[in-house]
Subunit: 245 residues, 2 copies
DNA sequence: AACCCGTCTGTCACTTAGTGACAATGTCAC
DNA sequence: GTGACATTGTCACTAAGTGACAGACGGGTT
């Protein structure tokens, strides 16, 4: 918690990169708290600035608009899914990978992360009624989509801007968004977090397979011998969901 | 062409409903034209008002924000897809329906509609770089998603707020969005519209099947005897039905 | 005709989100 | 230390958007 900025890169031109993200996150926390307590319209830039202890001008230096103040806290709430997808080894199935990563996550999470996650869920909930916030949420999902395109492209051996890849990424990201909204709503309504968490892993794996027509989800063979000639023809019949559980 | 407002409903409170939509569309046309010519930031509310021949105050009476001025023209550019999905008879396949509707559309389209469609495509293109406009585009896609939920729910015999339906709708809407962006970019780059049009129909049908894991796209049997036992269990473990709600 | 009534619109004053410009401070490199 | 650069604060300013009031249009009643 001490001001140890030693080990971080600050190659040239100030302590940016890392410190900037911390400041943005700090602002975002306060903004989200106020948004949830008083609504977006009921919260002014001056209030946010005062709450975080900075001048209003500095707030606008870090965020281009009031609503976008919520972005970091929202982005962080999907960051773990993103990181999980990013670190998905080619030779593992989605279910396996999510199961192990989820375990690791549960053991590593601290109270601060938990609070942030709660704020993120609240922002997603607010986004359902506040169009201004919906932008922030959809932007975060947009980012997920972009990252997913990279992941999927790698697994299918195609380029990230390939139309098929983009379609898969978009469908998957949309499904993830719906699941996040569903799980978030459940958590706010008091559903048992543990059960909901377990459910959500199954949901995610299932949704990814479905949204990509079964093309993404199974282990892939990197070297050669595709052995799955069905991925190019997205016909009606579903793929064999080899539950590697 | 004449001011025949007779046949239209004006059940309560003035000629609204229809006239209001015309005014909004008129504003939207000019706004889109200016946005494309000078960028969003380079266009002021006063300019839009002057271009359309109204006072600035009236613009804000019709639109809650500058960017949202683009919404009607964007919404109209996806309206035909929406209408096509909406009128999709249960017993037909998606390919059949889109093919006949596309023919009908080509014969019915006029120069005004064509101009509007061009503006819509330009707005979608602009949305890739102008975050303010991206909101309008994503909002339109959001509307598509909602309508799709209804369509899919009907075809699968489920409720529109069923999680599975929402997942299918979200994935499908996302795929449609990507196709629209792809086709729009192609049109602006000078690809032959006819060929691109034919392509897009195939894309859409294909994408809908893929995005829903094959659950949506085929004719359905309304009365009974599903004859397609694969649609209920789209993945490994069917978590959906046990909604703890 | 005059009259009323409701809606739409314009004008103007006003709040607030967001920017530009400049000065003050703080930090690193030397 | 001093100079270069980045961050922040202060203040004046533009532009988005709202509230309030008044006039215009239009249609129905007598």
């Amino acid at each position: 918690m001490a001001d140890d900025v030693a080990s971080t890169e600050r190659s040239r031109g100030g302590m940016s990169e890392q410190r900037r993200r911390r400041v943005r996150l700090e602002i975002s926390r306060e903004a989200a708290r106020l948004f949830w307590a008083q609504g977006v319209d009921g919260t002014s830039g001056d209030q946010i600035a005062e709450a975080v202890g900075l001048s209003t001008r500095t707030i606008w230096r870090h965020f281009r608009s009031k609503e976008s103040c919520a972005e970091p806290i929202v982005a962080q709430s999907v960051e773990w899914e993103l990181a999980t997808l990013r670190s998905w080894p080619p030779r593992r199935s989605l279910e396996e990978h999510f199961a192990t990563e989820a375990k690791r996550l549960v053991s590593e999470i601290g109270p601060s992360e938990q609070a942030d996650a709660g704020l993120g869920i609240k922002m997603v909930r607010l986004a359902e009624t506040e169009p201004a916030l919906r932008t922030a949420w959809l932007m975060a999902c947009d980012q997920v989509e972009r990252e997913l395109a990279g992941v999927i492209a790698t697994r299918l051996g195609l380029r990230p801007d390939d139309l098929q890849v983009r379609l898969h990424a978009a469908a998957t990201a949309a499904a993830l968004r719906v699941i996040n909204e569903y799980v978030g709503a459940g958590l706010l309504d008091g559903t048992d977090p543990r059960q909901l968490g377990d459910e959500s892993f199954a949901f995610i794996a299932d949704a990814v397979r479905t949204a990509t027509g079964g093309a993404v989800g199974d282990p892939v063979h990197t070297d050669e011998a595709p052995a799955e000639p069905d991925e190019a023809a997205p016909g009606s019949c579903g793929p064999g969901p080899s539950t590697t559980r």
